[in-house]
Symmetry: C2
Subunit: 364 residues, 2 copies
């Protein structure tokens, strides 16, 4: 497939301008662009700037889910290693990056740092924050409640859970050349994939979706809701996000981000949970054969991917390969359709569009 190479600067200029036009502050617009750049750099097409701005329009500042310029309030607490924030529906990427920085500060002091965020708006790509933490040498974890309830509990009929993702990052750059980042939703597939299956005339994987009566279907046109992966296990993982959010201050999943019937006294925002652990804090120092911590991780991974498992991938490896391609070609890679969308965006916010014929192309 043919891709166009766009410099990060050119990309960020348009993306920031689009966020500024919607009323976001300069720092918010930059943080928004930063996560989108990271997503595109790592081949995460589902969370590039086009998708982020679309989400903002549908559920964020274009609706009542996100408030440009909102200030995060830190709630008083007697617990020094954990912070609790009321994000007042600030932009998700800005809140996410700031929560991560705070966790890192806390982890440097206490060994572990947690920031729990109430009244949040979708942070897009949890793996992006974890990648950043892992790159800086930390072991990190985050979860959030997804914007809409699209997933049916195990043995249920009606979607009352979000796709509720979990993301972990490990400081393995020295050991394997890139940070291991485990990052996925708790549904078998995302709703976007169901749409793709419709377009491509394909059948869904088994146990991925149910019809309007709650019966499992592989017909994407009949799919009304999603199923958690791994039966009761994925269901449990999805519940975790709702229970953590429930402890933080989040409210009913079925009305989340649905800004109708607002005077019912309920809340509609998402919650985030961020945690960072300093790897020295959990190191016994007792590594076999005189290894250091990183050497030990390498030995463990070599053992797991040895013995005939040499072709197995590590989580984060595909993203790392994509980042290498980005570096090799000197810019972010976008399809022709994506370039077109960026150029429409540029026009909307008064920026010069990219001259497609001048962009370098690569075939991959």
């Amino acid at each position: 497939m043919k891709y166009f190479v766009v410099s990060e600067n050119d990309h960020n200029e348009i993306v920031s301008a689009a966020y500024l036009k919607r009323g976001y502050l300069v720092d918010e617009a930059n943080e928004a662009a930063r996560l989108c750049t990271e997503a595109s750099r790592h081949g995460i097409r589902t969370h590039n700037a086009i998708k982020a701005l679309h989400l903002d329009e549908m559920l964020g500042s274009g609706s009542k889910g996100c408030v440009p310029g909102a200030e995060i309030i830190e709630k008083p607490s007697r617990f020094p290693a954990v912070k609790i924030w009321d994000a007042q529906q600030k932009l998700g990427q800005a809140t996410g990056y700031r929560a991560l920085e705070k966790c890192i500060q806390l982890a440097d002091e206490y060994g572990v740092g947690i920031v729990a965020v109430d009244n949040a708006f979708h942070y897009l790509w949890g793996g992006g924050y974890m990648l950043e933490a892992a790159r800086r040498g930390y072991f990190a974890y985050t979860n959030c409640t997804a914007a809409l309830a699209e997933v049916v509990p195990f043995q249920g009929k009606f979607p009352t859970l979000g796709t509720n993702p979990h993301s972990w990052g490990f400081p393995t750059a020295d050991a394997v050349g890139f940070p291991i980042v485990i990052d996925w939703a708790t549904s078998v597939v995302a709703m976007g994939r169901v749409e793709q299956f419709k377009r491509e005339g394909m059948t869904l994987p088994p146990d991925a979706a149910v019809d309007k009566d709650g019966n499992v279907t592989q017909n994407p046109f009949e799919a009304a809701a999603l199923l958690p992966f791994g039966s009761h296990k994925g269901y449990g993982l999805s519940l975790i996000n709702e229970l953590v959010a429930g402890l933080i201050g989040g409210s009913l999943p079925t009305i989340r981000n649905r800004w109708i019937d607002e005077d019912d006294g309920e809340k509609r925002g998402a919650c985030f949970f961020f945690q960072v652990i300093h790897p020295e804090a959990i190191s016994s120092g007792l590594f076999a054969k005189g290894r250091d911590q990183s050497g030990n991780i390498k030995a463990v991974i070599d053992d797991i991917l040895g013995h005939g498992n040499e072709k197995c991938l590590l989580p984060g490896q595909l993203e790392s390969n994509a980042a290498k391609l980005t570096e090799e070609h000197g810019g972010l890679l976008f399809s022709e359709a994506e370039v077109k969308e960026f150029n429409e965006l540029a026009q909307e916010c008064g920026k010069a569009p990219w001259e497609q014929s001048l962009l370098k192309t690569v075939s991959i």
Copy 2:
């Protein structure tokens, strides 16, 4: 099925005696009996005292995996909210309970507490510790590396991962009547289940096991190794335990608990990761409709299990139902085969066996 009702005292007397006979200290024997009692009380037959003592014989004090009377060494650390322990292969249940207590102390002070344990021996039932933490009002998490590498990485051929369980406990007793405990291994089934499928002449679920060449098989007699649940997602979850253990000080999964060729300079023990969070530390206090934190959790769960999902179970519900049965019948419930095994154990350690004809029976 018919069960015999055995008082906790009678049960603990035999179990403690069996551990004492193997050289364990009084406190260790009591901690061992405590976890086994909790397992049997909650219907966890895979981790009752018979299984625990069998494991200890095969991989613990009967081998070189566990050292009766071992002292836990706390390693020096500059991070106040995280402790790192060298368990020196102390009994898993004793180490597990003590790590949990330390986490609770730390969470009371810092909001979150972590204990990472190196040179550990199998703690049996992670859910048991989480149940205890949740019952006392905390949000807790643990993982450990399993004793043996039985699981093949996603798209691999050879077992290099443990069944590596994850367990979470939530303080939901006020909200739903019992603590929600999410607790499972990262393989589709356990090796014990494969044996059961053999005995019962049944075929394995799809994608649960591979034969000696790494090809997926549903024939339990051909099953040489297990597969992670949920393809790459369960693989990622299993990797987490190995990576965390690798950061702590754990070594190669394929030699774990295999005490042959010991002078290779490698380590063979397991690692534990325990974490407890004080629920107040992550509470924004901003609950809708004037709810308190527990009322909010209840509202969230009511929403998830409403809308036609009323028949769905919560994780921990079956265990809670089993505990109610135990209470109702006034003792732990064991099958005839289990009573026989306990009586053999009693004879081995010079205790009076249970007079089967005098035990109350119930049919369930």
